[in-house]
Symmetry: C2
Subunit: 141 residues, 2 copies
């Protein structure tokens, strides 16, 4: 499994894949690339091509993103650095630690974006205002 | 979240889904429907329509299956009962306890089958012979 460190703790993974005449199997041993216990799963699908999702950060929640099908752009920002990561194959995983601002754009019609999260849903964990994010994100991490 | 008990501990879930102009978000709080900690994730994709996958049981490993895109038939068998479950929407989850024989067939071309598993990969956990499965499965559970 190849790991690419982007900035801070944000990193992408190229997961192991086994391909034969019966198709492809992508495998992720979560302890190797998700530094959290998975408590919540969500799947984002059927997103219009001109729609955006996300546009928030989490105070405590870690996330792992994989496009199980199709493709999507993830615009990530830790308050100091910005990058666009394209998820366009189930082999590519993107780990987002808490206090990462993320916006998803350019969903392909067939995109099914899988997100594994470290915490149950808690509205108080979300930071929806970018200036609030910058203020919160400037705290020591 | 609706739960349908099939037989034994095998059950399907209709997960919560939030649909608006930005697409659909399927959410699973794992503690509510996965009676295990998720240690491993795999995604099966690009499966030819005439191929089968699975055809084994696990001694200890619990699994949760979701077709994140497309559709697939899951033929399940606990040694006493058999059933075919069609996974054709990200809202449908299928929980398979240990000692369930499962075969996946009729993958649609766009199917991305997500499997969450309770254990890291261990070849000794797999039962690949159906008669061995019946012999093992007849033990008290």
């Amino acid at each position: 499994m190849n790991v690419t460190n982007l900035f801070g703790l944000i990193r992408t993974f190229e997961l192991d894949s086994w391909v034969d005449s019966r198709g492809a199997l992508v495998v992720a041993e979560l302890a190797q690339f998700a530094p959290f216990d998975c408590r919540r799963l969500f799947i984002i699908h059927s997103v219009p091509s001109d729609a955006t999702r996300g546009a928030h950060a989490h105070r405590e929640c870690h996330q792992l993103l994989i496009a199980a099908s199709g493709s999507v752009e993830v615009h990530i920002d830790d308050g100091l650095h910005q990058k666009v990561v394209v998820l366009d194959h189930p082999r590519i995983g993107l780990y987002l630690p808490p206090l990462t601002w993320a916006v998803e754009r350019e969903f392909s019609a067939d995109c099914a974006l899988l997100v594994l999260a470290s915490h149950p849903y808690d509205p108080a964990d979300y930071i929806h205002d970018y200036d609030d994010f910058l203020a919160t994100g400037s705290l020591p991490r």
